[in-house]
Symmetry: C2
Subunit: 747 residues, 2 copies
Amino acid sequence: MRHPKLFPLIISAVIFLNPFSLQSQMLGFTEESAVVQKKLEAQFDGLLQAGNLGEWMKQLSAHPHHVGSPWGKANAEFMAARFREWGFDTRIETFQVLFPTPKLRQLELLEPIPYRASLEEPPVVGDAHSAQTDEMLPPYNCFSVDGDVTAELVFVNFGVPADYEELEKMGVDVKGKIVIARYYGSWRGIKPKVAAEKGAIGCIIYSDPHEDGYFQGDVYPDGAFKNEYGVQRGSVLDMPLYPGDPLTPDYGAVEGAPRLAREDSPTLTKIPVLPISYKDAQPLLAAIGGQVAPASWRGALPLTYHVGPGPAKVRLKLAFNWELQPAYDVIAVMKGSTYPDEWVIRGNHHDAWVHGANDPISGMVAVMEEARAVGELVKSGWRPKRTLVYCAWDAEEPGLLGSTEWVEQHAQELKRKAVAYINTDSNSRGFLDAGGSHTLESFFDEVSHNVQDPQTGLSVFDRWRARQMVDGKPEPKEFSLDALGSGSDYSPFFQHLGIASFNLGFGGEGRGGEYHTANDTYEHYVRFKDPGFQYGIALVKLAGRLSLRLADADILPFEFGQFTATVSGYAEEVMKMADKQREQTEKENRLIREGLYKAAADPAKTFITPAPKAEVPYFNFAPLQNALASLQKSTTAFEKARKNVLAVQQQAALNQALMGMEQQLLRKEGLPRRSWYKHHIYAPGFYTGYGVKTLPGIREAIEERQYEEAQEQILILAEVLASFTGQIDQATALLQQGQPPAEALGK
Amino acid sequence: MRHPKLFPLIISAVIFLNPFSLQSQMLGFTEESAVVQKKLEAQFDGLLQAGNLGEWMKQLSAHPHHVGSPWGKANAEFMAARFREWGFDTRIETFQVLFPTPKLRQLELLEPIPYRASLEEPPVVGDAHSAQTDEMLPPYNCFSVDGDVTAELVFVNFGVPADYEELEKMGVDVKGKIVIARYYGSWRGIKPKVAAEKGAIGCIIYSDPHEDGYFQGDVYPDGAFKNEYGVQRGSVLDMPLYPGDPLTPDYGAVEGAPRLAREDSPTLTKIPVLPISYKDAQPLLAAIGGQVAPASWRGALPLTYHVGPGPAKVRLKLAFNWELQPAYDVIAVMKGSTYPDEWVIRGNHHDAWVHGANDPISGMVAVMEEARAVGELVKSGWRPKRTLVYCAWDAEEPGLLGSTEWVEQHAQELKRKAVAYINTDSNSRGFLDAGGSHTLESFFDEVSHNVQDPQTGLSVFDRWRARQMVDGKPEPKEFSLDALGSGSDYSPFFQHLGIASFNLGFGGEGRGGEYHTANDTYEHYVRFKDPGFQYGIALVKLAGRLSLRLADADILPFEFGQFTATVSGYAEEVMKMADKQREQTEKENRLIREGLYKAAADPAKTFITPAPKAEVPYFNFAPLQNALASLQKSTTAFEKARKNVLAVQQQAALNQALMGMEQQLLRKEGLPRRSWYKHHIYAPGFYTGYGVKTLPGIREAIEERQYEEAQEQILILAEVLASFTGQIDQATALLQQGQPPAEALGK
């Protein structure tokens, strides 16, 4: 308007500078840059070699390589050397983390028929790696406390709170007992946590063949599933409280950092806990008497599942080496040409419970191949606009220790510089499985259309869509990202710092029972998971595009329409949940009050009518609804404004505003009773572990029947959303400093 | 109106003669007769002795007593003698029925690892009866054809049509194969029927521990459930075509009756079929390869369930003694004082597969105790107004032979004289479980409030209601009768002749795996089913009240409001089903057409996209809806008119009209392809067996995608309902000849 004469010139320059002006192009890229980027991606794809993935997997999973093991250190050094070769500025950052390993493991059935659990995973015919028993950590649950307990057994199904409600109805109390729970149904760490809350003095976790043994398919080595000896190792750290080193909450576990006394750490278990195979579980379960377990509790062992307590009586004796171990995080940096202080971070862990061919090496080798190709591109003259940081985390298995300590150590810098974090872990044949920040959902959707499924030649989006529709879900228009809970290294980035994150992988057609056992080997992987590493390559293409586009975008491809719709959906869910809880509580209280429970129960069995529950109040959801209405309005304004044309400096300012966006969804006070978790849209469930709780403050308060807290959390979330909306408005203001496209075009 | 002076006199006489005038009283009884009846029932209850039930059970189940066995005959004679002692005019009616018994049973796994099935049920420690192996029929499926077949095995889950659709998707064809199906999921006779339709040449049925073995509870003798050797015997006659003697359809199998040649009988199986234990099934299932069975198909054996075909190869060789055997029906009559030609019929079968303590003796001894008490009442001076007929049927187990032949033999007389048929069979601890004609639902509801549950002291209605509500069903206002399918002796009365029927029993807390095995013994019964026979007595009280009230009612307690509501509900269901099938067909055809099935399938496994299905047309349901509207109108008019006061002769005429009511729901042509089944509201499913199909003509035509037939059947049902409505109108006309209550009261 002020410089009409310049219009013709500006127009041609300006159209290409508006990364949102042509929707058929690439989100965040001008038409011109999109052409360049497509070419770059074709070049990138051309560099990829499946053989590398196989070779590196063979190398990295040649020996057990848990935290503190010689092979773990060797792997870190091997990878660092490769990154350096490929042109990355590479360092190994070392943290000293608490990592207990077994000193003594003993489990005996004392009554009625003595049995001593073997607790061993013998070698499997045809799998040489499974014979490296000397180098392996034996099966155990990491961060179990030491203990020597003897008591009657109670079978508690998955060991989640609802299971204990059932037991109470059956008149079964676990106080002073040892519980035996089956794997699955919750993250494993929940099982001893809830057991201890209910008064149990010990916890055994076993792998029922129903979940990942012969019930699911043929067992190893005939098939992929867990044989009778397989034991799932794994952490039982109270990660929903905080992940990372239990002794250094909130700050990096560098040498000399202040440390909590072990007995003061709140994330260790309260009772000893041990995982066992179904071969060891069978005599224990067979010896339990009492009522027959509810139908949904019964597994696939050839016995009648009873709940106890007793007559089975067991002794569980555990002792650990409580040592600090070095965790080696490999950090490889490719500095950005234009925005060196904007970091796109890509990571995967490298430590394993045993050989970890699938978990984590299948994902790790995809990161390596991506980095190698990036290095090649750089050698050929290209350079990312933003800095690319490739990370190989150590000590993920015990509880995201390597990534969490690094994030805590570099928190201030990361908050300023991180654009996004892209995580992978295990990978196998099948369907795209992805979770992440919904501010990046449209961006992700676009990429999911640009990568081919190796088996069908469809885009990975189309194959995912087919699966959704065959499963009876509504036809998806866009790829929908799952909300992120926990279970891999995105958690500190995302929920602690508010860095927009992805967690990606393929899967569903490479199922097995090898997870965290001595059978997660190269042999197992290439027979059952991804023979030929075609899905490994698909993962490189997918994650590589995300990294490269985030690195090179003119304007960062954040978008708020999908986010607003998604969060509004969560709010609907929470409101419905409150209504449903109210209805069900009324219904159940009536069954209690009118004696209907008692009347329907079999008088020949113990049945304890539960106590009536407090009535569920109506909540004032208006603050949340108003905040969502404002968010919607601001989102619409942003979408309108982003058609404007920006000068390069304006773009830089906008990118800075967009980078800080997700951080607005955090509060420094964190969630109730777990201040480490600061994100107010997504958190791992306090009683589900990995399983996500969206709008966790409100949702968990209602679930836990803390109604005052629920009302408080509604207000808090409304404030959080208002702050986020304010940031959108600032971004919109920056956009409004640009040229409206109509004027720019002279209309 | 015409005799005003008589009013005061008439009023007092008349009020007491109107059986519907006071709803708080007994349906069908004047206030005065209700008082008498209540007194009678109290007297009846006072006569009952649980000890009799135990003693008779011990006697009748002392030895195996299948059709044609010496103990079967002795039981018939024992019961006939008791009925005679109790004052009944008693006869044994004998029919000559086809009853094949095993001559040769052989099942071998030939490949990959030879195994010869034992096919035996060895004695159980602590159960002397189980040791009477010489007297037992060994495990077999009655009415299997002879055969000697060798082929690869295919596991077909329950062996219902939907299972074969799954197999087709997996590329598995059973043509020329032998199938192995698990019990449950359908009536057993459906399994070989569908297998033969699909081209299989043999059928094995086994009891998976998931259904009634260790998965459900401890096994016999420790608990009630099926041990590894238990085999469920049972008929595989094509009962959904017609029950009864396969050689004499539609008429009594008396000596000298014309008989079909065996090879011309349509109800025998087309292929040989044999039931086996899970001990015998396990090596067979373990030897099957091919794809892993879908999750819902997998049972509780400790193996991976595959579908095959092969490499397991079996030989099944069966030969039977194809002999006619005498079936002894015991018929005991207590002639009615007022309406001797109106019969209330009460029955239970007496034959068993082995000892049959539960099935059928637990029900049979309740019939006996009821009859004994009736005999005592008669001896004390009372006499039923209507004739009571007590029946002990033989040959129910092979396919309702005893009852069906009797009903066919006496069809004309029964159509004229039968008021209702009350059936029982097995009985155990728990909840009232009752099905029947909805024209008698209000009557039944009333009785269900008048009998106490022995364990809780609540009425059996209230206990049933508590169960419904705890199970999350809506609060029931009345007892709701299940629709009757098949599986016991009510079928010929109800579905062939249109005699209003009940089928009753208690259950749900006496579950076990003894059904049709050598473990259904007195020992098993008194430990697990109904120790003390308290539910046996509750059954006598319940069925006894039904018998006595039907025998003594001033006006028969038929009522049409519940019937009309129920049938309207069925019509809604059928209309919704058509809509749902239309939607699902469209959805599925899209998945096929757009290649989504293929895209979602694992390319590493065989997947055959099914052929698209014909589109589901919209049906003209208007004739049915109009017929229901008329029915509702007539029902309302009847309800209004039945407040009128009738003279005794008018009552008699009304009772005659009401007795014929249910017969109006029949058509002499019967259902499509199965003319024996004439009832158009209820039938056993052609592909479910025992499981009921309501509005069967329409429902099954839609389910089978026979859309022209569905439309025809809508018209036919409309006609049937119109005829029923006409009969209601006739009853209403009779009522309208009486005195309106207001006038009668002089208002």
